[in-house]
């Protein structure tokens, strides 16, 4: 059974038809990297998976729990969100909470852990993403972007979700901080958790992705293993896109 299954996802904002029938089936443990030009609907697609934006048509299924986008109940959305986690481009850590509290928060309020256990689990996860005891009681605004994003990853990880959605997790970072965050994401990928990552980091995609999807104009143009899509793309639009970002990255 697929871990994540999207069928015929359509989404419009007003008259703007953004997603035009996206199908996607992701197996357990896959690391799927989504590439595509700005405005192609990558962020929107991720947000339809956890219903931050509800799609107008189609269905989303995570670990066999299927929600019809047209007629969904609130309780279904909550349940779906509890199977997923998201890492945001601009971190979106809870500004009124310390790093430790950020990571504990959902364990306490959603999973109903007692505080002690939640704290212990949070400290453990934070250590894994390289945030030691000395940073636990800092507020997000007191940390570097790289540290904030690693805390964001810890906040997602601690829920033990079936899939983690990453939306350009490194694109708001200063260049010298990108490496540490990519390293962290790579380490997460190696634990076998299912991930969908929107990124422009081609080298990262080559190394970590099990599958690369190229999107344009709200549709999947082509997909396959990274060595195929990134090295020998079949579609002219994929080639053109790759040339463009390789040239601007160099």
């Amino acid at each position: 059974m697929a871990k994540v299954e999207l069928t015929n996802i359509h989404k419009s904002f007003g008259d703007n038809h953004i997603l035009k029938g996206v199908d996607m089936s992701i197996e357990e443990g896959e690391v799927v990297v989504i590439l595509g030009p700005s405005g192609s609907g990558k962020t929107t697609l991720l947000r339809t998976i956890n219903f931050l934006d509800a799609a107008d048509e189609g269905s989303v299924s995570v670990s066999g729990f299927k929600v019809d986008c047209k007629k969904h109940r609130k309780s279904e959305i909550i349940e779906l969100r509890r199977k997923t986690a998201m890492v945001f481009q601009n971190y979106n850590l809870f500004a009124n909470k310390t790093i430790l509290e950020n990571v504990m928060e959902a364990l306490v309020t959603v999973k109903k852990y007692n505080k002690k256990d939640a704290e212990k689990a949070a400290i453990e996860i934070l250590a894994k993403v390289g945030l030691g005891e000395d940073r636990l009681h800092f507020y997000p605004s007191q940390l570097s972007g790289g540290q904030q994003q690693r805390a964001g990853i810890a906040r997602a990880l601690i829920l033990n979700p079936d899939v983690i959605l990453f939306d350009e997790p490194t694109s708001a970072l200063d260049p010298e901080l990108v490496g540490e965050v990519l390293q962290t994401i790579k380490a997460v990928a190696q634990t076998g958790i299912t991930m969908i990552v929107v990124t422009h980091e081609i080298a990262f995609a080559k190394e970590v992705a099990s599958r690369v999807i190229f999107m344009e104009g709200g549709k999947i143009v082509e997909q396959g293993p990274p060595e195929e899509i990134l090295v020998h793309p079949q579609e002219a639009r994929t080639k053109e896109f790759l040339n463009r970002i390789i040239n601007t990255n160099a």
Binding site: N50, F88, N92, F94, A95, A106, Y139
Partner: protein
Amino acid sequence: MNLAAIPSYFPKLMTAFPVTIRITVESVIFSLLIGALVSVGSLSKNKAIAGIAKGYIAFMRGIPTLILIFLLYLGLPQVMKRIGINMQGISTITYIIATLSLSTSANMAEMMRASYLAVNKGQLEAAYSVGMTFRTAFRRIIFPQAFGIAIPTLGNNIIMMFKETSLAFTVGVIDLLGKGRAISSASYGSNRLEVYIACGIIFWLCVLILERVTKFTENIYTRGRKQATAK
């Protein structure tokens, strides 16, 4: 004018101070309750509800408080009498508290709406992404941040209302100013200026304290963390 006599009025004036405090405290509480209701309405996706809430805010902000006092104190009993309700048992202080609650509720509603909207949208999305319901997200993430944003405005709204309690004497409530009037008429108005200056000093000191408390609360509350506000 006898400036030296001013301090001698403080003890007598202060006997009415609890009345002013009571009006302020009760009006703050009711204005926050009404304001919360109205702000929820003004944020509603339902256009009719949002329209009613915004109309209420516009009306309450536009009408001078003194006129609202007279509308309630003089007008309401007449209207109620028509539908068979006798309002004679209602004390004048109740009319004042009702008036200040209503007029300030508009400012409180605007404060709450603006503070809610000032919390970065990403905060709610992050809360949703970890599986929180709106209620939990509001209680744990949004409200604490909105409150931090609202503190200066809240302090200001309370100060403005506190000063408006001085209108209570117009319907005969013996608050600070009512007491001042009583004192001066006892000596046929000869010391009117001195008594009002004494009243003014008391108000001014209280406002000074309220300002300090506001600043202090804000500093304590937001210590160590910057607020994440929209844009």
